[in-house]
Amino acid sequence: MKNSPPVAVLQRIRSRYGTALLVALALVVMSIIVNMTPLKEQTWLRVLFGVSALNFTLRATVPLVLGALSGILCERSGIINIGIEGMMLAGAFGGFVAKTSTNHWPLVASLVFSVVVAMAIGGLMGAIHALFSIRFRMDQIISGTVIIILALGATSYLYNRDAIAEGKFSSIPIPGLAQIPVVGPVLFDNPPITYLALILVVVVHVGLFYTRWGLRTRAVGEHPRAADTVGINVNLYRYVNTTLGGMLAGLAGAFLVLEAVGQFQEGMTAGRGFISLAAMIFGNWTPFGALGAATLFGYTQALQNELLLAGVTQVPRQFISMLPYVVTIVAVSGLVGRVRPPAAEGKVYETEGSE
């Protein structure tokens, strides 16, 4: 943390994400008004701002934002990661195996242990990705593809369908805050990984932009030659960041198995890793941007459910389901503000000593 008092941090966040924060604030105010007044009898207002929609949004956001953070860590250091989906799935499977083999432990101990295992497995997948990309100079997009296919095949092959995980994380209301109307039940009455994900957004943001590690990571991703010249071990940074990224994807898997569902299912990530990728890009490789994008995607998913639940079927449901994907295409096409990836991404960095 050098020369960055909290005020400066806040200012920076505000200037960069001013619009996004304003929109979020408007949403919160609207939802409080709608849910506290007779306005909630209006179908359309309820669909857009009901507590159920907000709860669903947050829940759908958690794996997406964790996946996006995973991508950010890798890509900021110059390693493209399209394998988030595979890392997530492997993490979910690891967490499930750990949980089923520790069912007899006290619930919390077993769950925490399983989260650790899920993150370790995710981290292992990240390390393999880094090894492929750096040591074996494999094309990074292909390496990511390998990670995905491998995770799908291996978890299906090894999955014991008779194993049953007993118990999952339950909500921990935060005293005081949870009593705030509307906002309380949505934001401050959640299970632990949800809180952890939101905290990690801040941690990764501060880490990336206000620590020596973050500065170096970004240097490695933007201009590895210069970083090398000043004595930064480029490939070490890439290994570490990609492994950390894998661990975050593994945490997203842990969320699915240990907090959200309580069981494993083949292919249960169901494309969430790919949408994380989109959230990362839409969020311009920044943690808060990714959070905003993930929330938007989560919100579109909530909406399509809300519309069906409310019996609104004028628009074929398939077209509503397309929204997150179309929004992403629009976003990467630069129609909503241009995004810029780290400059040295996807390129193998070779020092004289690496052969």
Partner: protein, 357 residues
């Protein structure tokens, strides 16, 4: 630099050692293409039963598994050897015909094909092989072939019973259904029956139901969507939720089981089999299940094929409500009576669910 080199070296040596350790294996691979295995299984018995799953796994805790349990149960009853029953898990919808042909070629007498999507392939194979019996689970037969029995169910009937139960239990006046995709007809039938049943006991009841938004390959295997959607329905005041859609629906049941008031003010209803047995995690809220009993249906048809009394055409399996198990004391006697009356009415046709009209 040093660290990363050592790490890669260690990882690499391990891999290398593993690969070298297995080196003798490949030499034998090309030589092993005799069909000793096929000859063995071919000679084992006279009555053989094969099963082709829909895309998915045979032990999916859902309809593939129920059908396979029917095959194993009938094999036990008929005293068949373990080698006389086999399954092939379909990987791709294009492979239905191939996988059926696999059993035809191996001389199987009865072939069970699971899921409406296999209907066309099953009927084509049946016409080509008139001496093989086919059991098509969930396959409605438009024309009657003597060697194809479509094992179908009035899902709308058991859905209707579930609706009567849900409508009677609900205190909030809102009930919900979390469903697999409407691209699959039986799921739609369950829901239609459910809505009609609920309206029959409470005309003003608010039934909110939603289908999985994704493609068909994801719709039944996305438990997190099921769980999150169930939560969404709870947030909207639903107090009885019908989870109908394979693993997706199971996700919904498990979510409700951990909700506040589960089993006291909030209930869930399962689908297909008695899910009290298949999803133990749902016990806190699971009052009953809207069943379509695939397993006994398959057993009956296999036995009939063995006896030479195979019924071609549509064969209706049992569609019913599962026992209440731990909730038996909670269900008032009037409601039990109502359900019995309704069941009788559905069977004799005096009650119409409105589905398919």
């Amino acid at each position: 630099m040093k660290l990363s080199r050592i790490t890669t070296l260690v990882i690499f040596l391990t891999t290398l050692a593993l690969l070298l350790a297995a080196c003798p294996a490949p030499a034998a691979v090309p030589a092993a293409d005799t069909d000793a295995g096929a000859a063995d299984s071919g000679a084992a018995g006279e009555f053989k039963v094969g099963l082709v799953t829909d895309v998915g796994r045979v032990n999916d805790r859902s309809f593939n598994q129920s059908a396979w349990e029917g095959v194993t149960a009938s094999a036990e009853g008929l005293g068949l050897a373990e080698d006389d029953i086999k399954y092939i898990e379909t990987q791709d919808a294009k492979d239905y015909a191939d996988n059926i042909q696999q059993f035809v070629d191996a001389g199987y007498n009865v072939i069970v094909t699971v899921g409406f999507a296999l209907g066309d392939a099953t009927n084509v194979a049946a016409k080509e092989n008139p001496d093989v019996f086919f059991i098509g689970v969930d396959q409605f037969q438009g024309e009657t072939l003597p060697n194809v029995a479509g094992l179908i169910f009035n899902e709308d009937h058991s859905g209707y019973l579930a609706g009567v139960l849900a409508g009677s239990l609900s205190k909030t006046g809102t009930i919900a259904a979390v469903l697999g995709t409407d691209l699959v007809p039986p799921v739609v039938a369950f829901n239609e029956g459910y809505v009609a049943g609920a309206k029959s006991v409470n005309a003003d009841i608010n039934v909110i139901s939603t289908y999985h938004p994704g493609e068909i390959s994801q719709a039944f295997v996305d438990p997190e969507w099921g769980a999150a959607t169930a939560k969404q329905a709870l947030d909207q005041g639903a107090d009885v939720i019908f989870g109908a859609g394979g693993i997706t629906g199971n996700g919904a049941l498990q979510e409700i089981a951990t909700a506040d008031g589960a089993g006291e003010t909030v209930f869930c209803i399962g689908v297909d089999t008695d899910q009290w047995n298949t999803v133990p995690a749902a016990h806190p809220c699971l009052v009953s299940s809207a069943m379509k009993l695939i397993t006994p249906g398959v057993v009956e048809l296999v036995n009939m094929a063995n006896d030479g009394a195979f019924p071609g055409g549509n064969y209706f399996g049992k569609a019913d409500l599962a026992p209440f198990h731990d909730f038996d004391d909670m269900i008032p006697q009037e409601l039990k009576d109502l359900l019995e009356e309704t069941k009788a009415g559905l069977i004799d046709g005096s009650i119409d669910t409105g589905y398919g009209n």
